[in-house]
Structures are given as structure tokens and as C-alpha cells.
């Protein structure tokens, strides 16, 4: 924007944006702070913001009580696996929808999205029975597969919107030069759509990481991810704010850090074809 902006106006903008930003972020900040307090200080009246006796006692209690590393590993495996698997299946589908559209393309796309509206609780029993049949309960592969299916519509749709922004002429030029379908997808299309693919990957990783219904109901001990980890801290007896905060921080920290480091990609890619 070429508008001349006075410093005064910039200062007002800055102040307003920072106040609102901090307000929105505050619950997370408060959780992190509380995780370093003793239980008594966590409920002190009036609340203490920074000047308390910092302690890591809550973290050691939580580590002692649960096998955090395994929950974390399961979360990474399930979220990562389901996203990558989803991409492998979705890239060709999105490609064909974007570059060889037929009359029904949009219907198919919207139908795919509508499968996401099935209420999970309504099909819990059928899915549970199927999982018993196939021996997939408490199995990371089974869960990975289910989460892939849940997020597949979003993945296809996001990729479709990115692919559509790529001008068809480039593909034709590549074809003139003798590129086959595979070369076309892997050497021409994919590099161009890389930012889009990266943000699809990120968004779906986050969605899979945070999914709390199937991950809780289809697992027991071996395959349980961090969503199950947090379910054991939700209301223990007595004072528990500090321990709850520590467990919460441990559950969200990995994804928060990942999200922050990759926020450029996420923001750049999150256009859903909205930008023309």
C-alpha cells in the first residue's frame, strides 16, 4: 500500500493490535504460567501473574504418572501418518478435478465435504464393531486410517483450490516437451503447488492432532495419543489447576511450536482459492 501513514496512526494501530492479540493469547499464556506454580499459588486470591515461586514440580509429577513419550509419539505418528497418506491419495484426485474437470466435478467435491458432516457419535457403534472384526482396536494403523478418511475431503478440496490457480498453459507446454503424466505431476505441478501442499499438510496435521473423539474411543493403552493423555488429568481430586496446566501445556506445546515456526507457510497457503 502506497498510502502515507503517520507515525501516530501507526502507533495507535500497533497498540490496538497488541492489546487484542494479547487478550486472545492470554488463556494460553495463563495456562503456561500456572503450570509453573504450586497448587496453592494457582488458586491464590488475588491471582499472581509473574511473581510466584517458579517450580517444575508439576511437570515431574505428570512425567512420573504417565508415559508422556509414548503419548507424544502416537500423536506424531497418527497425525503425520494420516496426513501423508491423505496427501498421497488426494494429490491425483485433486489433479484430475482441477485439470480434467467434468460436469460432475463440483458435485463430487461437495459430496466429499458433506461426508464430513456425519455425526461421529451416531456411527460409533458400527465403526467399533468393524474395528473389532478387523482387529484394529488400539492400533495406530487403524486410527491413522480413520483420521485419514476424516480429513481426506478437506485435503482434496484444499489441493483442488491450489491446483486450479496454476495456469493450464504451463502444463500444455510441458506436454509439448514430451512430459508424461507422471513427469507432469511430479516435476511441473508439484513444485508449483508446493506452498499449497505445505499448508494443506500443516492444517491437516493440526486437525488430526486435535481430533478427540475417535482417538479416545478407538484406543486403550498402546495407541493412545495426547488427547487420551489429557483425559486422565481433567478432574483429579483436590487442587489440580497447576497439574492440569502442566499436562495441557505438554499436550499443546509441540503443535504450538510447529505452528509458530511454520506460520508463514500456513498463512500463505490458507487462501482456499479465496484470493484471486
Amino acid at each position: 500500500m502506497a498510502r502515507a501513514v503517520t507515525n501516530q496512526r501507526k502507533a495507535i494501530n500497533t497498540a490496538a493490535a497488541w492489546i487484542i492479540g494479547l487478550l486472545i493469547f492470554f488463556p494460553i499464556l495463563w495456562t503456561i504460567l500456572t503450570s509453573f506454580k504450586s497448587e496453592a499459588q494457582a488458586i491464590a486470591d488475588p491471582p499472581i501473574f509473574l511473581f510466584f515461586d517458579w517450580t517444575t514440580e508439576n511437570y515431574s509429577t505428570v512425567m512420573e504418572r504417565s508415559n508422556y513419550a509414548r503419548f507424544l509419539w502416537n500423536s506424531i505418528f497418527i497425525a503425520g501418518g494420516s496426513t501423508i497418506l491423505g496427501l498421497i491419495i488426494a494429490v491425483p484426485a485433486a489433479w484430475s478435478m482441477a485439470f480434467v474437470p467434468s460436469r460432475r466435478t463440483k458435485d463430487i467435491l461437495l459430496w466429499m465435504l458433506s461426508t464430513k458432516m456425519l455425526p461421529a457419535v451416531g456411527v460409533l457403534y458400527p465403526i467399533y464393531l468393524l474395528f473389532i472384526q478387523f482387529g484394529l482396536l488400539d492400533n495406530v494403523y487403524g486410527l491413522t486410517f480413520v483420521l485419514m478418511l476424516i480429513n481426506l475431503p478437506i485435503i482434496v478440496w484444499m489441493l483442488y483450490t491450489y491446483f486450479r490457480e496454476i495456469p493450464g498453459e504451463i502444463l500444455e507446454a510441458a506436454r509439448m516437451d514430451g512430459a508424461g503424466l507422471r513427469e507432469e505431476i511430479f516435476f511441473v505441478l508439484t513444485p508449483m503447488a508446493l506452498p499449497g501442499i505445505a499448508s494443506t499438510l500443516l492444517l491437516n496435521f493440526i486437525l488430526a492432532w486435535n481430533e478427540a473423539f475417535w482417538t479416545l474411543n478407538l484406543t486403550a493403552a498402546k495407541a493412545a495419543p495426547l488427547t487420551a493423555f489429557i483425559a486422565s488429568y481433567s478432574s483429579p481430586e483436590g487442587l489440580f489447576y497447576a497439574k492440569l496446566s502442566a499436562a495441557s501445556t505438554m499436550a499443546i506445546a509441540p503443535i504450538l511450536i510447529l505452528g509458530w515456526f511454520s506460520q508463514k507457510q500456513l498463512v500463505r497457503g490458507l487462501t482456499f482459492g479465496a484470493v484471486k
Binding site: 457403534y125 478427540a212 509458530w260
Partner: protein, 287 residues
């Protein structure tokens, strides 16, 4: 460009995704339909045979049905309204020149990364608790009586929690859309003496309509299925029982699979009505 060969190739490439999703939709759907016509009580000896449309009738005539539908819609519309209005305002603010834009953006995005269970737990215990919650401290600091958020204003509290989670998503998408807004057009309008408001309504808003559509579409998909937030905060009490929560109660708490499945079929129908409604708008806006 679409030759016959490329068409059939396209079909082959689409097949895995379509077949998988079709399976994912049809298999549970058929099983749900099957259960919905049967008296299926796991705690009373399991499947006890056909019952016709009894489950369907019973589900709709239950005193909890219509309140559940209206709760679902109130939650959906409430969250959509808050996230879109606040999202547009926030996006406009974040688009203004300022110091530390990147850092502010990080702060605003953060809630999106928080698991729904965690955010519900944190809000319920550390903020909305009438005795030890931070909001209670704040209220008392100003001399007011603390509010019992989850029992006095349960829907408002729930909408607040869910909106907090989804505001970052709406803001991000709207922000990318605003950044692509033609600055010169705005300037020209400003030169012509158009007020801030009319510039907003005649230039910015139409430009954003597509992004808003996408926010509505994606959020609706997730909001219709909302569960963890209700389970953790109110357990469906105080009029926060949505349709999907009602189904949960029928299936898991009452252990009546037939009745719950009938509810599931209704939920699918509701989802499809909303989907068709959305597709009308989206279809127009997606070209």
C-alpha cells in the same frame, strides 16, 4: 485439453479417493440404518429384532428433540456470527501498518492449535469457575458478584469458548483475502470522498464475500459435529444439549443403539439440509 485418454486417466486417479470416501460413508451409514430399525439394547441382551419406525417416532417425539435442534442452530449461528464479524474487524486491523505485525499474528493464531478438550478444560476451570476462576476474580475486583458462567449463561459461555477456538482460523483466511485487496481502488475511492463505512461496504465486503463463504463452509462442517466442548463443560445440562450430544446420550448413556441410530439418521438429514443450503451459496461463490 481434455482428451479421451486424459479423461480416463483422471477417472483412475480420482478412484482411490472416491472409493475410500464412499466406503467410509456407506458402510457405517448402512449399518446405522440397519440398527435404526431394530430394537438394539446391548444391556438387555442385544439385538431384539425389527421394530419398524418406532425408533424414529420415539426420537422425534421425545421432549428433548426440538430443543436439541434449536441449540444446535443457536450454537452454529452464534459462533459463525462472532467469528466472522470479529474476524473481519481483526483482519482489517492486522492489515494496517504497524510495528511487530508478525508477532501479533502469532498471538492471534495460537488458539487454533489448542486441542478442543484442553481449551474446554482451561476455560471451564481456570476462567469460568465461579470461585477460583480468573473471571470471578476480575468481577470481584470491580465489586460485582461472580458469575456462574456455565450454569447462568451456559450457551453464551459455550459460544465464547468455541468462538475463541475458531476466531484465528476466520481471521487468517479473511486476512489473506484483505491483503489481496486492490489498494489503488481503495485510494481512488478515498479521493472521491467515500466515507470509511461506504468504502467498507461497497469495496471491501464484496471482495471478502468469497473468503467469508469459505469460512462459513469449513466452520459449519466442524461446528455441527461439536462434542468435546460440551462433554467437558456442561455434559449437556442447562440447555446445551445439541443434536449430536443427544445422540451420544441415547447411544452411550442410555445404551439404546436403535434409538441413537435413528437420531444419527436425523443428524445426517440435518447435515445434508445444511449442506445443500451451503452448496447453493458456495456453488455460486466458488467459480
Amino acid at each position: 485439453m481434455a482428451t479421451k485418454a486424459s479423461r480416463s486417466a483422471a477417472r483412475v486417479m480420482m478412484a482411490p479417493a472416491v472409493v475410500l470416501l464412499l466406503g467410509w460413508m456407506l458402510v457405517p451409514l448402512i449399518m446405522t440404518l440397519w440398527f435404526s430399525f431394530r430394537t438394539y439394547l446391548p444391556l438387555r441382551g442385544g439385538d431384539q429384532g425389527w421394530t419398524g419406525f418406532d425408533n424414529y417416532v420415539r426420537f422425534v417425539t421425545s421432549s428433548s428433540f426440538w430443543p436439541a435442534i434449536s441449540t444446535t442452530l443457536v450454537l452454529l449461528i452464534g459462533v459463525l456470527a462472532i467469528t466472522i464479524i470479529c474476524g473481519v474487524l481483526l483482519a482489517i486491523l492486522l492489515d494496517q501498518p504497524m510495528w511487530g505485525q508478525g508477532a501479533v499474528r502469532i498471538l492471534v493464531i495460537a488458539p487454533f492449535f489448542v486441542m478442543p478438550t484442553v481449551s474446554a478444560l482451561v476455560w471451564k476451570n481456570m476462567f469460568m469457575d465461579p470461585t477460583n476462576g480468573l473471571l470471578a476474580h476480575l468481577w470481584r475486583f470491580f465489586g460485582a458478584d461472580s458469575v456462574s458462567w456455565l450454569s447462568d449463561v451456559p450457551m453464551l459461555s459455550l459460544i465464547m469458548i468455541v468462538s475463541w477456538q475458531w476466531l484465528p482460523f476466520a481471521t487468517l483466511i479473511l486476512l489473506t483475502a484483505i491483503q489481496s485487496l486492490d489498494g489503488e481502488q481503495m485510494e481512488a475511492a478515498e479521493m472521491d470522498g467515500a466515507s470509511v463505512l461506504s468504502r467498507f461496504f461497497y469495496i471491501a465486503l464484496p471482495h471478502l464475500s468469497r473468503a467469508i463463504t469459505i469460512v462459513i463452509l469449513i466452520q459449519t462442517i466442524f461446528l455441527l459435529a461439536i462434542f468435546a466442548e460440551i462433554f467437558v463443560t456442561t455434559g449437556g445440562a442447562f440447555g446445551t444439549r445439541t443434536l449430536s450430544y443427544l445422540i451420544f446420550q441415547r447411544v452411550l448413556e442410555s445404551q439404546n443403539i436403535g434409538l441413537g441410530s435413528a437420531g444419527g439418521v436425523y443428524a445426517i438429514i440435518l447435515a445434508n439440509i445444511v449442506a445443500i443450503f451451503l452448496m447453493r451459496i458456495v456453488g455460486k461463490n466458488l467459480d
